[in-house]
């Protein structure tokens, strides 16, 4: 549904040029929720603005539902843009318009009749559960309500694609959850493809099917969300996952970490579980089987894309052969369990 081909965007200033988007290729299948995560300044804002041509890419192609945006005339582009909804971090509602009139705006711009506008806006108000606020002004709404108005407005022209630019970054955690589940619901109900950018793992975890990591204008990693949590490849992705799973650095252990095994040292291992392996008493079962002791240093459980994932950091007490067997055995679970040796400690 959304295809980005070799996309570049650079800004020319007096004495230097900044490359914000540096050769991005991306493919988002219809009906999916695709998340792009990155730190501030990574180029994600520019990237999402290139997708609906708010920013014209310096080179490369954006293909939306088979249409090459760069080849459209101005009026064709405006028509295509009407079918690409967008919501923003700061909602961007018009203060001079009521909730109803804000949602009606894209329909007015598209030249819909008064009757159609009435019908459509009222059904959208129901969808986002704001029928009782239709005559209020944005200044009378909470942040979450404002974003729901913005979502309704973005859906007014029945878009095929919804772009979310840090849509929950200005909201508190509870409101974030509510907005995310609304987006998920819209995705299910209307089968709209959603491309979102964020710096919050919470967003990726809750609603995305796929995720890509952007750094310095490049996609450095892309995978399904489960695989992202289970198997982050790059340092940046690992940082995102570890921080999100509340894994703390362990100074009292890490100073004594030694890369090589030596007699009398214990193995420090990070274990990641997906799905029903979380519920099984796997660790204690194996500990008994291989006759080693396990001390849990850190633990966290998260629900990722409706699957439960467990994150453990454990210290293994036992001789080298037994602990190696333990780890090798875990490796046989492949996609559902992952064990990484972090080092050795006293």
């Amino acid at each position: 549904m959304i295809e980005l081909i070799n996309l570049y965007k650079s800004y020319q200033s007096k004495d230097n040029s900044v490359i914000a988007v540096n050769g991005i290729n991306l493919n988002v299948a219809a009906g999916k929720i695709f998340g792009i995560i990155g730190l501030s300044g990574a180029g994600k804002s520019t990237l999402i603005r290139c997708v609906n041509f708010l920013e014209k890419p310096s080179s490369g192609e954006v293909v939306i539902n088979g249409k090459y945006l760069s080849q459209l005339s101005n009026s064709e582009l405006h028509q295509t843009q009407q079918k690409i909804g967008m919501i923003f971090q700061h909602f961007n509602l018009l203060n001079s318009r009521t909730v109803f009139a804000n949602i009606a705006l894209p329909l007015e711009l598209a030249g819909s009749s008064k009757q159609d506008i009435n019908l459509k806006v009222n059904s959208l108000l129901q969808l986002v559960d704001l029928t009782d606020k239709k005559n209020n002004y944005p200044s009378q709404l909470s942040g979450g309500q404002k974003q729901r108005v913005a979502i309704a407005r973005a859906l007014a022209n029945d878009p095929e694609v919804l772009l979310c630019d840090e849509a929950t970054s200005a909201l508190d955690p509870q409101t974030t959850d509510a907005i995310l589940s609304l987006l998920k619901q819209i995705n299910n109900k209307l089968n709209i493809t959603i491309l979102l950018i964020t710096h919050e793992m919470e967003v990726v975890k809750n609603i995305c099917d796929q995720v890509a990591v952007i750094d310095q204008g490049k996609i450095i990693e892309a995978s399904t969300v489960e695989n992202f949590f289970l198997n982050p490849q790059t340092q940046l992705a690992q940082n995102f996952v570890r921080t999100f799973c509340n894994e703390k650095p362990m100074p009292e252990i890490s100073v004594e970490f030694q890369p090589q095994y030596s007699e009398g040292k214990n193995l420090i291992v990070r274990l990641t579980f997906v799905g029903n392996k979380v519920a099984e008493p796997l660790v204690t079962k194996l500990a008994k089987k291989f006759n080693i002791d396990v001390s849990i240093l850190q633990a966290d459980i998260e629900t990722v894309n409706e699957k439960t994932m467990g994150f453990l950091v454990v210290e293994l007490y036992g001789d080298k052969q037994k602990t190696t067997e333990f780890i090798d055995h875990l490796a046989t679970y492949e996609t559902s369990v992952k064990a990484e040796v972090l080092g050795y400690a006293n």
């Binding site: 609906n52 028509q79 690409i84 961007n92 018009l94 203060n95 200044s139 009378q140």
Partner: protein
């Protein structure tokens, strides 16, 4: 003399109101589009065009820097060419409008610039053309600032119109100078001042009222 003093005042008042509002309307009609052009041709706005922007900005700044009393005299040939005469109330409209246009343009530009860039971006994301951005977003979202600015323009025009009286423009200023100053008629002087103050108060009051109607959405 004292018998028709009220008639004189009434006529002068009508002339002042005519000058202020006619010049005001002319300057809005010409100044606001210039303000829109100034705003949107800025390099980070919706229709960047440095040449248009620079030229307009220069003209507007020159216009704003000429003192009214000098402008009024300097453009007498233009006034005569447009209205066929250089004295009288209608003739005074020309310098009044000419001096108010750059003022309005600047005020309008500032009002439009206060519209958050994100709103225009949102409009663009909906596929709005530049015309639509102006009429659906820029103008409605800046209307409170615009109304306040236009009120200020009318108030300024009241004082300018009194000055126009000095070169035969008619109105309350003319009356105050001819009777109040040159004939030492303190009564007329005081009455004209009171009427001018009252007129400014009424304009300001109406402007505030109008802007508060449109401001409903903002601070409640």
């Amino acid at each position: 003399m004292p018998t028709n003093i009220w008639g004189l005042l009434l006529q002068a008042f009508a002339e002042t109101v005519y000058m202020v509002f006619a010049a005001g309307i002319i300057s809005f009609v010409i100044g606001i589009p210039i303000g829109i052009l100034l705003c949107i041709s800025d390099k980070n706005h919706i229709a960047p065009n440095p040449i248009v922007n620079q030229c307009l900005a220069t003209v507007v700044n020159i216009g704003r820097s000429i003192p009214f009393i000098i402008l009024m005299v300097a453009i007498i040939p233009v006034t005569r060419w447009i209205t066929g005469t250089s004295i009288g109330t209608t003739a005074a409209l020309v310098p009044l409008a000419v001096s108010a246009i750059p003022f309005v343009a600047k005020i309008a530009e500032n009002a439009f610039k206060q519209v958050a860039h994100g709103l225009l971006e949102t409009g663009k994301s909906m596929g709005a053309s530049n015309w639509q951005l102006i009429f659906y977003i820029l103008l409605p979202e800046s209307r409170v600032a615009l109304i306040n600015g236009l009120t200020l323009t009318l108030v300024t025009l009241v004082s300018f119109s009194a000055m126009a009286g000095a070169i035969g423009g008619g109105g309350l200023g003319d009356l105050a100078i001819r009777y109040g100053y040159q004939r030492f008629n303190s009564f007329i002087m005081i009455i004209t001042v009171v009427i001018l103050v009252g007129l400014v108060q009424i304009i300001q009051l109406l402007g505030n009222k109008l802007s508060s109607i449109y401001n409903l959405g903002k601070h409640q």
